[in-house]
Symmetry: C4
């Protein structure tokens, strides 16, 4: 089964998710610059989520680039990841509209955690189809980075109840470690 259409469908869904998030940025009322001020929590949530969805697109891009085969279980593991990503617009708006209150920050982190877990499931399903000496398996390795960021998301969720800002700091840290481009797949392919 070809990977081309899975890539195309995934790109399509991710492109739509990253774009419809902006629909939760309601047009401000008022015609002064001060009308923009109350938007800052929703806007900064949007920035954070835009970066996260961008990271997922980048990682999926790199991972599928190294992939040689997909099967039915991979398709569903991929749809499962897209499901949790599709909730990003709602969890982002929930966090932004409630000005980073503890429960919404925790919910946002739970969504991030489930995305990370679904990504791990997808990687595992792809690993099943690729022998240890393939570029894919070598590039993935033991995926310490993926496991560490999953852990950091869970810590962020728990810390949200101590202080939502600590939770957010964890999420930002996860984003930061992925923004540094992941060269594993690139290196293997060279």
């Amino acid at each position: 089964m070809g990977k081309g259409r899975v890539e195309a469908f995934t790109d399509g869904v991710v492109a739509i998710i990253i774009t419809i998030m902006v629909l939760e940025l309601k047009v401000p009322h008022g015609e002064d610059f001060s009308a923009l001020l109350p938007l800052w929590p929703v806007f900064s949530s949007y920035v954070l989520s835009f970066i996260f969805v961008g990271i997922y697109w980048n990682n999926l891009h790199n991972m599928f680039h190294a992939v040689q085969r997909v099967d039915g279980r991979v398709l569903w593991a991929n749809l499962h990841l897209l499901f949790w990503l599709s909730l990003m617009p709602v969890s982002t708006a929930f966090m932004g509209e409630n000005h980073f209150a503890p429960a919404p920050v925790a919910i946002y982190g739970i969504d991030l955690t489930l995305c990370a877990a679904a990504y791990w499931v997808l990687a595992t399903q792809l690993h099943r189809l690729h022998a240890e000496d393939t570029a894919f398996a070598k590039a993935l390795g033991d995926d310490r980075k993926g496991k560490f960021s999953l852990l950091l998301c869970v810590v962020g969720v728990l810390l949200s109840f101590v202080s939502p800002w600590l939770g957010l700091a964890c999420y930002v840290a996860v984003a930061a470690i992925w923004l540094v481009p992941d060269r594993r797949f690139e290196n293997q392919l060279e």
Copy 2:
């Protein structure tokens, strides 16, 4: 006429349908976990519909993979299927917002039935273009699974008036028999 752009357009529309459904998941009011509780009927309807649209994408993916030719009538049979799929966000929200009342559950099932019927029409139109000894025709066979799930949708609609939960059970059963990956097309292509 090439099948490539029909696949691309179909993937695009299905990707948009599966993603804009989330726009009906309104951001909850309140900043506690309890604010999420009233969302459960809309959320679980979303999960069910996400799975159904995912199944259609999977099946269309497999079917078009085996297809060699398309013509104008296939294009319209495909658009006809996309039409009923495009109503999924509305019928899903109607069912969820009314907490699985009988009529909305029946309406949802009618939409599912029309999708299944439209899929059958599309398969028939493609069958017309492919001789009995092609991979497509062999893989489709007499399509018992398609006919059975169409019947199960109709039964679900009728049972909704006895109890909406019986209707929902039928729809979940339809989803379950398709979640088991359909290996007909994969087997033929090997």
Copy 3:
């Protein structure tokens, strides 16, 4: 300049237009079948517009299939067509929500007319790049069907002021003559 990305972009925009139209179909209030009754004008407007956008997709599909070259002016002629198509969700909802009152039916027809005119401009720009003996030029011919349907749209707009149902009858007639698959491009390519 390659036509591939123009096709892909056009397919993307048309896929989004045809799908976001459904967002104007507001989820009905109430949990009975009677809650669906007030939806009929919006729903039937949606059906008509879905068919029209489907026709444009089909026609663009066939036309670009025969095309060999595009240039900057073609890109803008194409964007110009997409602009008027992008107004279909608004003009459709305006017509449906006002229960086919004369002015909204005329506005809807004006949008259809501008789409048809923009399609004609696009065909003319493509004609400029293709000599008379190319498959494209032969398939397009003198485009009587395009000119006739443009005329029929204008007549529909004018008749809307006599009776909106006469206007609608013209629009339905335009859709009907295009639903019969346009075999010009297919024949030339065989």
Copy 4:
């Protein structure tokens, strides 16, 4: 790393941005032509933004056509551009709904400026990967047009506080100089 999927993803996001902008064009209340009159500021903002997003699509289309290599930094420079483009629907609606008041016109211009700056960053990142004698580097040249339009956007923002119409005149001028097709990349490729 292949440029194909970056192009496809970019096309997808730009196609969605250009199309969801129309969702800010609310369906007018009333069934007379006079109901359309209050729409003119939102409608003309929509027209201007449609042209700008169309220009970006065109320019990205031409630029990526000449590109031979992309890397992780290019992906993020591209996402950064898509971020500011994704705010176009909101800044457009903010300007239109406030009938071209000074602050919203300035905000709109700031978004345009940031898009132009992000485009310049993307071009710089691509330049880094392409030697001076490649078609890409020759076509880009010293990019006077890009720098001039960036300057014109900044001037427009400042003039908005004198008179919003002067600001708008600058933005329209920027659009006008890009509507004339940019033949640099086309010429180099011939």
